[in-house]
Symmetry: D2
Subunit: 123 residues, 4 copies
């Protein structure tokens, strides 16, 4: 089996969290809120569905570009690997739902963007 890939569109729901690892690798994470809208036949109009929250994680060049481009509230489209982790720590349990982004951009269905290419990165 391969990685589980996912595309999710939504709004940046938190401030960005920027970390640089000991080895100097950049890492940015934030929460994304995705609220589907669907046509309701009975009401004869569009209604909001349940909001799904996931944590978006970006590494290296993508992390640096995201740190210089995204702000809380921005609409984005994210493509990446889904990873669900069930953890246990100090007697507590929880579940982390993460998408490690491979491609990510401001959603132009919501506004315009001025793009500036960075010098070619090593991938």
């Amino acid at each position: 089996m391969n990685e589980t890939m996912i595309t999710i569109a939504g709004n940046v729901a938190t401030e960005l969290r920027f970390v640089r690892s000991d080895r100097g690798t950049s890492l940015v994470s934030f929460r994304l809120a995705s609220t589907p809208r669907r046509y309701d036949r009975n009401q004869g109009g569009w209604v909001d569905g349940h909001t799904t929250y996931v944590t978006i994680v970006c590494w290296r060049t993508l992390a640096e570009n995201v740190a210089g481009s995204l702000h809380k509230g921005d609409p984005v489209v994210v493509f990446g690997r889904l990873r669900v982790e069930n953890w246990e720590r100090e007697g507590k349990t929880g579940t982390t739902v993460e998408v490690e982004a491979q491609a990510l951009g401001h959603d132009l269905s919501r506004g315009t963007s001025a793009f500036r290419r960075t010098r070619r990165e090593q991938r």
Copy 2:
């Protein structure tokens, strides 16, 4: 924004749970375990990654066919809507990660299947 669609391949990790609602609607759910394999350049071979568990939910005709076809351990491919829910109940909190299946089948990369079409359902 639209629903967040996802395709996930893995193994049925639990027995099926079959419920019929008061209104007579069929519902089947089970846990799916998805373990990606990736080529490790350093080791020069394929290695297992982290296993992601999600709950698969099937409704109506799909639920009935799934109940008559799937068993614990079977390899399947599932396409459906992702929904992450953070809940709080009796002082406890948790997170549910569900995929509401729209299409689902035994994965023929793992074996063979003999198919029998049901009479045309209303969708």
Copy 3:
């Protein structure tokens, strides 16, 4: 950039074409017809949309299992890599739209399947 992955559900529209390469590798291909249905607000009902045809290509173990399981008319769900090729041959031009399947199964929203696992393959 990564491969472009796609999930497509539809019906097997042709007989299967089975080939064994000089090196003994199995290859199966067939045409898949996918017809979306959408709710039409004006008509107040579901209507068929445009039918998309693509060529599904399966290799090795998947090819062998598909050859032993699928028949023309069967409903399937396919996950794989999309590849569009514009070709020119003997003064003619054309476009081939292929999905190289990674996972593929009978769609249980249309019927039931009896599955038999093959012995563990090398991937």
Copy 4:
């Protein structure tokens, strides 16, 4: 069956073509080139795969924002509906591969973007 959704990342390969219909609806289309890179075990490095070209089609607000944001050569990520059409016209035949975009953005793995939200559109 539902629409076949696809996420594709690549570069804008042509100038944008902007059209306004008789009814005043905006429509933008362009060609997208997507070249996968994969790790080649034998060569011990990353190599380019086959380039897939598709036509991206954007409507209404998305079309207007795309017209004001994208340029030939820009790296983008596109999520939308796949549609393959086999046509015949004046004795010639051909195949059109289109993605009707629902969400589309500059790919921040390649550079930075400054975003400006348009006033809330009706969807």
